[in-house]
Symmetry: D2
């Protein structure tokens, strides 16, 4: 059962304790509730692909720990370049299949690999046995074919203060108590993708911490329905349409959750970091290196769909897609940039201390700068091609189309080329709207850290002094030219 | 009563026949229905400003036709640079006051000035008395302080065919019958801004036409509630929130309508072009010149609010706005670019054949290229400053905040700086979302014509041959270098 | 003689004392020496245009002080929008005629208008009679049809220290002695455009100064050949070609000088600021407002020639210019942006304290940001269209063309379309090279101040707090949201 | 001797027949003539690095054909990802060491690998033994440690006609005669990098050809001094400075040549394609895939030096380099983009038909788009940081510095921070000028093909229909939406 079917996946979700809320109400069944069924559908398509010969190579892999066993690719270890590239490829496929983010196939996967490297370091220094615990959990996860989202971002509170300085200690998730058999955690994680579609949640520290903040240096994995955890799904643009009937929104989707941990007990075998603050920064370093390399594939995959959506709109309007070839080339260059630069970061990476691959940080963070900017250009071009009907979704609602009196007139007015139905035009326009300013926008600018943070890394890893020295030698300057000491004007 | 109060304005709307629909239902009172009350509120703020000494200079002006009478600026004639600049200034104020578009103060105003110039030409050539009719209507409009939206964009049908070639003649609004006392019109106008908040609608041809399409060469003005007209408001991103309680959407807003004319009778005194196709292109030329000059102020005004929204988010997060000074400078440069380039187009303009000012077409259309691109950058920066909570509006709904069980926890999690309430942070984040990917996005890329259309004008008005000749002389080339004839490779 | 001929202009230059050097040698006659004759030729074309009916309207104007007298436009007062726009128009023409900068028609003209405003303030506060002196000088200048360059930029020395703190007081031009009949000045001005082609030089302070630096608060006008002044022309890219025979460089050109003042005596009637440091900042403010508005026309005019150069290259290569229509539209949009945004700054300006027009500072400085960036894009496109032969000027020298053995083969290899000579292709390619990476590059990024300085002004003049308040009201936030006090993380 | 020393390299050049000209004169010794010694110096630094333990790993490799033999990396075979990445790394180092292009280490290396793949195909189809010839030549080249430039670009003639249609058959290099023992070739190759520093030249067809043009389907390798070959070095910006004394230009450099072949006899063992036009396109395809992947490293390496040059200027001006940290981050992101996207193209590549690695074409060509644009931004920023002295090289010449009278004053005026000499500031400024608008600009926009050509490949390789189908499925559109047939408006 290491490679699960859609049906088995849905059943695993249905079996869980309801603890997800939206619009003030408890969601009894995430697989059918309109607020969550789209993200579940999106994730389910990964199970379809895992069982589809056309895609199985990209969606499954061999287990490192279970000899001869095929597993879902997102449960696997990333020991080399090929496996990390496999992460990128899977992401690009998933965006092409769903149009948006499937967070339950992303952060947990990366987290287990990052922790493999970091536990090698903590175990070595502190004599802990975190890696052994982790391995046991990974094997279970592979056997069960779990979907595991991951939680880094804390609520944070005041951005000018550290966690231990916050007036509310729950602003960041922390260890409230260490017991012999496990730990008790409390606090808020926010903006966590794909939780409603996940079986478990991998918890990581939100930043690298100093000693004062050691209670926040914490990593563990918990069932999504663990006692004490309340999950509230956030709004997104046009999300109310998910509650409506009709074609104003696609069938796939994304969710992002606020997670409130209140005295949740996590048994030791699921704890992989407990106050070893010295290595909390390493988690962030390794996590972001791979995450920001791979996220280029996400926005590339969505960009592929935007090219396709542009082609649909053009054709349904009565024009050839080739009318907009220049614009589509611009979109394609954007897509391939974030995708290939991420691949470049991987190819320039190397094995970490535990043997798992770590992409090149400088390139990965430089890539994040593009991930935070180029998709906005691609979206603009998609709207440019589609026309006003796409730019703001400016045409009547499904309910108006179905009005018995004036609905037929709307149909006539929306219809463009005689070859295509008004419904096809409506659906194509709503798709473009959804991708560019609707509920399908995945949030990749700040997801996994802000572009400003990425620029700080680029700055830190660019060897200005070395570059100045190359320049000095070419210029034939004999004097040394060091950074001056500060003086006041 | 030439300068009306908010109260008088609202009463004028209430007095009209209900003929506006949304979500499959008739709107009985546009001033109170949640689907339209926000755009009405937005327009009402222009009446407040007209009566506020601080803003009266920009919001009122002297009537050209009613000696000594103060009128709303948007009812006035634009005889010179100052009056056209006044158009820009009013637009920038309105965006600052409402965050989005108030279409009822825009297209009708421009249309009456454009038609003044064009009727001078048609009257001269054809001996018609259109300008006299127009003058009479303008005087009435000034006296009544009307809000007049304007309708150019037709449903169009197949983009590869002209109006008379369409399988459905209603794809474009046209003259169905010419009677001695007026004309009968039918067809669809789409994506018309501010209709629900307007008293009347100024109809313009959607393009310049040839003889075959002369029935589409048509200009007139009709009451918004004219018999035979059905109006369906379009969806926009997150517009369902307008039906909800709470702070997930601001109190101001915008609407864009589909208008279905079915055998509407327009009396002669309201008709200003009737099949004079030769001059339909002139309407487009003059209209776009001023419109695309002024629209720079629209996106600039929204950009001002985005700078402000960024400052709010920074401060409520516990940071100084000055942390993001570089980004705000980038936003400001974008804002001032579209604003000032529009002003430049005006200053380089001249009086048209009827005496009304026409901005420089080349500059105005070059400006449209920026209007279609720079605001996307400004929006991205606004999201960049605001963080993930802004990028996708990623935090719980108002209904969740008010949930008695977990609502208080949400408050704690959303709160950042101790100095500000969670509600303030929620409202600031929702504003940024609304401005950048919500119902506040005004649609200025395609509004008034696409950027590709603008580029065609730039191409046509750039004197390549003359520039080649300057280059040739500087280079000292004695040979003439004309455009070669086509040959096949 | 207020409107001088080319011949009279050249004679006025020949009559001056030789004090200009380049490549280690004194230039005896700037009108014939290869190092300076090109900039003189460029300026001479303005005299041609002044006497050409086709351009006389833009190149001449009526004197404010000499009733009924026509003068060169660059000698005139800028009392209103039309006159400042006239400055822009003249600049665009001059770039179209010469391909580069004619500094002697620019800074002095602006300076006399700026000082008119500033002397109104100093005379009022200090009871001086600077404006009267200035008026007298302006009248003389108008009568003589002078070319007057202007000198702001000082050598500066250490960028982290103020003038009075520099180890070498000459790093900035300063008043060394005040005598009853005049002042003695010393110090270095650098990167001053058009000096070799000028009759006089208008000196302005390089920055706004505090009391400590009052000796540097200085404005006066001096003959170019004043005793004690040594001028050294700077290198520019490919400037050695100016010394060669042939077509590797055009006949027009630009120079930029280092000026070394050593105990130069300036009589009182030519001194317009003498230590009134309080108003030195006003000079900078007014100067940059008009200068940075007008400079948009400079790069626009050069951009026009780049469009033309691209068209030439395309045609001579055997292709139609229209092959590159999209690229030319991009170039045209860039050109019209800096031109029209500058015009917008003017139209939003107003009369200064002395009655001369001052453009809007915010817009003018925002425009400078574009002036410092967009031309780089335009140049890139020019090289893109022209091909490798343009990108780096990658083809043999004139001397190689003329080699009797292999020269004929070069001709055959360089020739493209049969319709045009190899010489024409060489000249067109060298022109593009000269415009984009050769001696024709005018230096408009830092000319008149750096883009970083311009951004500081944009930052200072953007009312963030007011914008935050608009946002706050639209968001419905009741709390005040001021800038927080600093705290330490 | 497979790893040669600088000395041995210089001797190998001195031993050749003089056949290189510039400025109308024959160059007797390319290693000492001022017109060519800089490019020779640049290449010589690669020999230094080959023998320097710090760089030997990147500059040497194991021979595939000579067991146990170390060879220069640029003589090696690229059988896998690591070897192609090695190409990129070497290029980035070389730009860091020399500031510009060392063409003799680039095209020949790539060509021998491309031909290995293509000869596998031609030998298979036509029963030729090209690969065996090639192998023999490669082994010789490895043993001798040759520098081999490569020649693709033909003079072309009229761009609207194919080679066989040109009025001058020499416009493209072609086979004039096939003899039993070899071929006779004639025609012009242009803009060929590094020829003066090379031992041999690898000739490739300039494009993919049809049957009509089969005489142009040609690949072979010739000694640089082969009988019948005349080489004329082209001008570049400021190249006359190479003839001058002093610091106005660095000691390293680049050359680009026009090559005139006149009845040159090439023996069969050096011929690898002879009229097999069907596979000429394959040469272009494989060549550009690797070339455009690797060229990202070139501009990245130059960008590194520009960051360094910016840091030098800042410090010598008295400021910290960190003042410009934001700008340097922007530069670094540009550099890492072209570098890493190239690496990504490689990592997504695969072995070609002969076993040599071929990078992914789509990504490689998308990268070329960035290579043709981002360096212009980086150059602009370099000029932005450096100030006016850098923007146009606006300060006196070396000859003026050395003038006994005013030279000392120039020194004082150019000196900025007391800590650094005027010479250091002059050298740093001249370096920045050389890199951004001087003789150091390498010509990477059109080098190896234009960006427009690259965009055509991106267009061809982007599967629009497939993307439209993903979009269609996500939108839930049941109808097929194919590209419409053309119709006329």
């Amino acid at each position: 059962m290491a490679v699960k079917t859609r049906k088995e996946y849905l059943e695993s979700l249905k079996a869980m304790r309801p603890n997800v809320y939206k619009f003030g109400k408890l969601i009894e069944d995430v697989t059918t509730d309109p607020a969550t069924k789209r993200t579940v559908e999106s994730h389910a398509r990964a199970f379809d692909a895992s069982n589809d010969p056309q895609y199985a190579e990209d969606f499954t892999t061999d287990s490192t720990f279970l000899p001869g066993e095929k597993i879902h690719r997102w449960s696997g270890m990333m020991e080399g370049l090929d496996q990390v590239m496999g992460n990128s490829k899977l992401k690009r496929w998933m965006y092409r299949f769903t149009g948006s983010c499937t967070g339950g196939l992303c952060v947990g996967w990366n987290a287990q690999n990052v922790l493999w490297n970091v536990t090698a370091m903590t175990d070595k220094e502190f004599g802990t046995n975190y890696q052994q615990r982790l391995k046991k959990w990974i094997i279970e996860s592979q056997k069960k074919g779990l979907v595991v989202s991951g939680a880094l971002t804390d609520a944070k509170g005041d951005r000018a203060m550290r966690p231990s300085q916050q007036s509310n200690p729950d602003s960041n998730v922390h260890i409230k108590e260490v017991r012999p058999d496990g730990i008790v955690i409390s606090g808020y994680k926010t903006m966590i993708c794909g939780v409603a579609a996940s079986n478990e949640v991998f918890i990581l520290p939100g930043s690298g911490y100093r000693e004062d903040d050691q209670d926040y240096a914490l990593s563990c994995v918990v069932p999504r329905d663990i006692e004490g955890l309340t999950i509230v799904e956030t709004r997104r643009a046009s999300d109310s349409r998910e509650l409506e009937e009709g074609w104003d929104i696609p069938d796939s989707g994304i969710t992002q959750a606020y997670m409130f941990f209140e005295d949740c007990f996590v048994p030791n075998e699921r704890v992989f970091m407990c106050k070893e603050f010295k290595y909390s920064g390493k988690i962030i370093e390794y996590f972001t290196a791979n995450y920001r390399a791979c996220i280029g594939a996400c926005v590339a995959g969505q960009g592929d769909v935007m090219i396709g959506a542009g082609a649909l709109m053009a054709r349904i309007n009565g024009l050839a897609a080739s009318t907009f070839a220049n614009k589509m080339v611009d979109m394609a260059v954007n897509n391939e940039t974030t995708y290939a630069m991420g691949i470049g970061a991987m190819a320039l990476g190397k094995k970490g201390p535990g043997g798992m691959w770590v992409s090149d940080s400088l390139i990965a963070h430089a890539n994040k700068v593009h991930v935070a900017t180029l998709p906005y250009v691609t979206k603009r071009i998609c709207q440019d091609i589609g026309g006003g009907i796409v730019e703001t979704g400016c045409f009547p609602s499904y309910a108006d189309f179905k009005n018995p009196v004036y609905g037929p007139t709307i149909e006539k007015a929306v219809k463009a080329s005689d070859k295509y139905s008004a419904e096809a035009r409506a659906r194509a326009a709503r798709l473009s709207e959804w991708l560019t300013l609707g509920a399908g926008v995945p949030g990749c600018m700040h997801g996994g850290g802000s572009p400003d943070g990425a620029k700080l890394v680029v700055r830190a890893l660019t060897p200005i002094d070395q570059f100045a020295d190359y320049a000095r030698k070419i210029a034939g300057i004999k004097e040394q030219v060091p950074e001056p000491e500060k003086k006041k004007k």
